[in-house]
């Protein structure tokens, strides 16, 4: 004890334990991202970079300490700049890991980054930023997105490492974990899983514990230095406080719109409210408004009956939310070589080419005839139009269809009923698992499905049975612009009981029943091909918006079915799915020349041709305005910068106030604050003259006059505090001058890094804030 008290211990940096603790803490913090992603493939690269930062830091610091004796104040001239080598080395390690994982192709030996591989990486990160805006949570772990996440976590690990190890402010490192925690909180809809919350809290506890332990052991008060030593209890307590505060605080904080990684598709559907774009949702209940139709597209197709114009598929059914789109995979664009979505071999097909001129249509999704082979968009970059092969959707990245025109070549499946009937049931097909997923259904729906279908039937028979439910007039389903008022609380069960609705309900209900029967299905949104205008082009209007069903048959792919009783002039002939209500007439064969027999008019009273579905009262009321993520980001950066500059400004102000005061006490306070800022460790139990003595060895090296000056200051401070009131010294310019001398000498005796940190991140201000908080916190009479 006495030996330590005599000499002035240099500020010790955190040991290797702290570095490893940082890595563990950041990893725990990164676990908060778990609910953000749909799969855990992001975890491995993130673990690798965090390990690179943590272990790399430990190794580099150990190496540096071996080269530069840390006990020596005046190392070689390069010892100061050498400290910078640690973060630079960590950045280099992170780059190597990123190269190995993401862009090894053009890297040197597959490991060392080259200009080419770095360019690839930059491109990947660019993709990632676009994917952020396209993905809703839980997001698909697309490569760009994972790369971006990895870089993000690596930056946080670097920041936490810098704060916790050289700057010894691990509590501030908790801010990094807080940032990680904020990601799921601000992006995941609904409740955030406990892991997002508990893991960063545990990480924070790890940080505090490691640091506390390092400090105690460093002071020789660590007792045994065992893992359950003195520091554990405070660390646990702090973590608990953080946990409770984290649980309580959100209740008082205004929340942001949730649900997407960035602004996402938030405003895509109902943005203009006049139906020039589609809302990628199929509700099981609602009401349609019927504005005056607007011409959306002019279509010049190579065939007379081109079929549906397909925009987007909805493949996720949640009982109360209806059908929704899952995340789009935008990793490839329409510029890619080869056919986009070729049909399976041996399938009956016909080729359709079309030239589409966009009139009023303005949507992210490109309406295309199924199944697209190639698309050329005029007036826009091909790279901006991404293609999701699973959804067979072409969508714009920061682009909409407004004012464009495009050409497309498609292959339309034309299966015969015999082909479909022969399609086997293949339970092992991954498509079956993915596209038959359903939440728990209302018992009446399950009962209906069991009654309609039999597992012994072929998939096609089952689909026909379900289709028959909606199309057989005997079953009493009627078209209506609004669904009936339900009583069961389940919109689907209500629709199946009341049998009133429009295309969304018909398509949604059929897809659910088909899935319930064990056959993969999804809902598709798009347009019926419209009416032929005077110039021979088909004109698609808002009234042509439609929803139908696609069913997956092994060996045949996605085949459209349409359960909605729509007007005959809009209906698209699907010979493999004849409507039961048409069955008594000869099914028209559109592909037989002259075979266009007049279709019986559907019940006109119920069937309204205006089958476009713009829910006037969108219940989910997504944020209407397109958020500007970049503006928000810039504003956030400014706020962070302002917050970061706050300690600096506060410290400056405090200094000015104390110097203006000029009392010995104020000047002494300022001197002590300077030592705290420069991480000169002085025991709190020292008296003024002891402190002056303890500072002397440090000062004498740079300015021997400063030793006298600090003693002058100490004596003045003593007299002002302990002296008789009559003899207390007042403000004295000589004292202010002495303070300036000491301060100069102190600064000169510190390394450049210490000076910068003292200016930007003054520990004394933070300590004052902490004391202020501690003084107001309830305290136990006897601290443990």
């Amino acid at each position: 004890m006495s030996g330590q008290a005599d000499e002035l211990p240099r500020a010790t940096r955190g040991g290797p334990g702290t570095g490893i603790a940082v890595a563990v803490a950041v990893l725990l913090g990164a676990l908060a991202l778990d609910p953000v992603f749909a799969a855990r493939t992001w975890l491995l690269p993130v673990t690798m970079v965090v390990a690179a930062v943590g272990l790399g830091g430990v190794a580099l610091r150990a190496l540096l300490d071996r080269l530069v004796d840390p006990a020596e104040d005046d190392g070689p001239w390069w010892s100061g700049p050498a400290r910078l080598a640690v973060p630079l080395g960590q950045v280099a390690l992170v780059l190597v890991v990123l190269t190995v994982v993401f862009t090894p192709d053009r890297a040197w030996a597959g490991m060392l980054p080259t200009l080419g591989s770095l360019t690839d990486l930059a491109g990947l990160l660019g993709d990632g930023t676009a994917e952020i805006r396209e993905q809703a949570t839980p997001a698909l772990p697309l490569t760009g997105l994972v790369a971006l996440t990895t870089v993000f976590v690596a930056l946080i690990a670097l920041a936490v490492d810098l704060l916790a190890v050289p700057a010894r402010q691990p509590a501030l490192g908790g801010l990094g974990l807080l940032v990680l925690y904020c990601v799921p909180v601000s992006t995941v809809t609904g409740e955030v899983a406990l892991v997002s919350f508990a893991a960063p809290a545990a990480g924070f506890a790890v940080l505090l514990w490691a640091d506390q332990r390092a400090r105690l052991v460093g002071n020789g008060r660590g007792g045994s230095g065992s893992p359950m030593g003195t520091g554990t209890l405070p660390a646990l307590r702090t973590a608990l406080v953080a946990l409770v505060a984290g649980l309580l605080l959100p209740a008082f904080v205004p929340t942001l719109a949730e649900g997407s990684l960035a602004a996402g598709w938030g405003g895509a559907g109902t943005g203009n409210g006049v139906g020039t774009s589609l809302d990628p949702v199929a509700e099981m209940a609602g009401q349609l408004s019927l504005p005056e139709p607007i011409d959306l597209l002019a279509v010049d197709a190579s065939v007379a009956d081109p079929g549906y114009l397909r925009s987007v598929s909805l493949d996720e059914y949640s009982g109360d939310g209806g059908w929704r789109m899952s995340n789009l995979d935008g990793q490839s664009s329409i510029a890619a070589d080869g056919p986009l979505a070729p049909l399976l071999d041996g399938q009956s097909r016909r080729e359709v080419t079309a030239r589409v001129t966009v009139l009023a249509h303005d949507d992210r999704f490109l309406p295309l005839f199924d199944s697209p082979l190639s698309v050329q968009v005029l007036g826009s970059e091909d790279e901006d139009w991404r293609f999701d092969p699973a959804a067979r959707t072409v969508f714009g990245r920061d682009e909409t269809t407004g004012g464009l025109s495009y050409r497309s070549t498609s292959q339309q499946p034309q299966p015969s009923a015999a082909e479909l009937a022969a399609a086997p049931q293949d339970p092992g097909d991954p498509m079956v698992e993915r596209y038959t997923a359903l939440p728990e259904l209302d018992p009446s729906v399950v009962a209906l499905s069991d009654q309609l279908t039999d597992p012994a039937q072929s998939p096609y028979e089952r689909v026909r049975a379900v289709l028959g439910l909606f199309t057989d007039p005997a079953n009493g389903f009627t078209y209506s612009l609004s669904t009936g008022p339900g009583t069961t609380g389940d919109d689907l069960a209500d629709f199946l009981r009341l049998k009133r609705g429009y295309c969304e309900q018909y398509a949604g209900a059929m897809a659910v029943l088909v899935r319930a029967a064990g056959v993969p299905a999804r809902v598709v949104l798009g347009y019926t091909p419209g009416q032929v205008g005077e110039d021979g082009d088909r004109v698609v209007t808002t009234d042509d918006a439609h929803a139908w069903v696609e069913v997956w048959f092994a060996g045949l792919g996605w085949i459209p079915f349409d359960p909605t009783p729509i007007a005959a002039d809009r209906a698209v002939a699907l010979p493999w799915a004849p409507r039961t209500d048409e069955a008594d007439t000869s099914t028209p064969d559109p592909f037989t020349p002259g075979g266009a027999a007049p279709l019986p008019a559907p019940p006109a009273a119920e069937l309204d041709r205006d089958d476009q579905y713009v829910p006037p009262l969108a219940p989910q009321a997504a944020p209407q305005e397109q958020l500007r993520p970049w503006l928000l980001g810039a504003a956030g950066t400014l706020v962070v910068l302002a917050l970061g500059a706050l300690p600096f400004l506060l410290r400056r102000r405090q200094r000015a106030v104390r110097l203006a005061d000029g009392q010995p006490g104020a000047l002494w306070e300022e001197l002590l604050a300077t030592t705290v800022d420069l991480a000169v460790e002085l025991p709190r139990s020292s008296t003024a003259r002891q402190l002056a003595e303890q500072l002397a060895p440090r000062l004498v090296a740079t300015d021997s006059a400063a030793v006298a000056a600090v003693q002058t200051l100490a004596r003045a401070q003593e007299r002002s505090v302990y002296g008789p009131p009559a003899a207390r010294p007042g403000p004295d310019p000589a004292l202010t001058e002495a303070l300036a001398t000491v301060r100069r000498a102190l600064l000169r005796s510190s390394s450049r890094g210490e000076r910068v940190r003292a200016a930007l991140w003054p520990a004394s201000t933070l300590a004052t804030a902490a004391r202020w908080a501690a003084a107001r916190a309830p305290r136990r009479p006897r601290p443990a």
Partner: protein, 354 residues
């Protein structure tokens, strides 16, 4: 000053000595106070303290810290407990201290058969005057050297300890005031424990400070062999100040300014001993009082008109350590009270200082 020399004769062999320079209450004590006012405003404690220290230092060589502490206790009107092995100069220190201030000094060699009345004095019936006459005991002196205090029976120890605290003696209903300055310098031999009644820790609280002499360094011991062999330095010793002057110095010490933050610091220190997990018994309020007094004296000796936390820190170990009781665990861990106090000094923040 031959009288003083005789006055230091051992009590056992000279129990009936009456030659006292400082008489009891009804004697010359009050007169001395009257002739020289104790509120001597221009008492230069530092200068006179330095003279005293220099004079004592000529006898007790190589022990400036111990000499200084003895002076501090004198100026703080306290009592000193010296714990050390025999022959390191405990008695010499006491004698030198007494002689520099030109006061009376009595030495009591404590033995198991020593009676309380030997210490305090006794009223005896005078056949001629047919009245009880008070024969003052050994405590009626400016400096009382209580040698091997742990050898006497607890009853006798208590009698002395009571005098120390009360600074008066009551025999047969008559109260006799003791001389001023009055200082007991007790010695204890920490090694020899057979047949002794060690002072209970609670009793040690009466002593302002405990000090151990320690062996002199090599040069001092050499010098001592050279000088002592021929002449006892005590014989060629002239007093520097008289008792009245000491009273003035004590008064001057009492006038030192003690700032509020310093009082808070003292209280914090004392409280810290009570909270320390190493201690079974912390410091008493009296300990705090005596710590502040000792700090005052230290500050005065340093020539300051105000007390600093440094003074408190300098006095904390000698004033506090002997009053503290370690827990069995701390004792097993071979910690001692001095170490505990040192550690507390390193943790208790100095109020006002920072």
């Amino acid at each position: 000053m031959s009288g003083v020399t005789e006055g230091t004769a051992e009590l056992r062999s000279d129990r009936g000595v009456t030659e006292l320079r400082s008489a009891p209450r009804h004697g010359t004590g009050q007169d001395a106070a009257a002739t020289q006012p104790e509120t001597d405003a221009d008492a230069d404690v530092a200068a006179e303290g330095a003279q005293l220290a220099e004079a004592i230092g000529r006898v007790v060589q190589g022990k400036p810290d111990v000499v200084r502490l003895a002076l501090v206790v004198l100026l703080a009107e306290g009592h000193l407990l010296i714990e050390d092995v025999p022959g390191v100069g405990k008695t010499t220190l006491a004698k030198a201290l007494a002689r520099t201030i030109d006061g009376t000094v009595r030495r009591i060699q404590f033995t198991p058969d020593l009676l309380p009345s030997d210490v305090t004095g006794v009223a005896v019936y005078d056949q001629e005057s047919r009245a009880f006459e008070f024969k003052p005991g050994a405590v009626f002196a400016n400096v009382v050297v209580a040698d091997e205090i742990n050898r006497a029976s607890p009853k006798t120890q208590s009698a002395l300890l009571e005098c120390m605290e009360e600074r008066q003696v009551t025999v047969d209903g008559v109260t006799y005031e003791l001389a001023r300055p009055f200082m007991v310098v007790a010695t204890q031999n920490p090694l020899e424990m057979e047949g002794t009644y060690p002072l209970p820790e609670a009793q040690r609280d009466r002593f302002t400070a405990r000090v151990s002499m320690g062996y002199p360094d090599r040069e001092a011991e050499l010098a001592m062999l050279g000088g002592r062999a021929t002449v006892d330095p005590l014989t060629a010793f002239a007093p520097v100040v008289d008792a009245a002057r000491v009273r003035a110095l004590v008064a001057a010490v009492g006038r030192l300014h003690v700032a509020e933050p310093l009082r808070q610091y003292v209280v914090s220190l004392v409280e810290a001993t009570r909270r320390s997990p190493d201690l079974r018994l912390g410091a008493s309020p009296r300990a705090g009082l005596q710590l502040l007094r000792a700090a005052r004296a230290t500050a005065a000796l340093a020539g300051r008109d105000h007390v600093l936390p440094d003074d408190v820190q300098a006095m904390a170990v000698p004033v506090l350590a002997h009053r503290l009781l370690l827990t069995p665990d701390a004792a097993l861990a071979r910690r001692d009270a001095q170490r505990v106090v040192t550690d507390l000094l390193a943790t208790v923040p100095v109020h006002g200082g920072r």
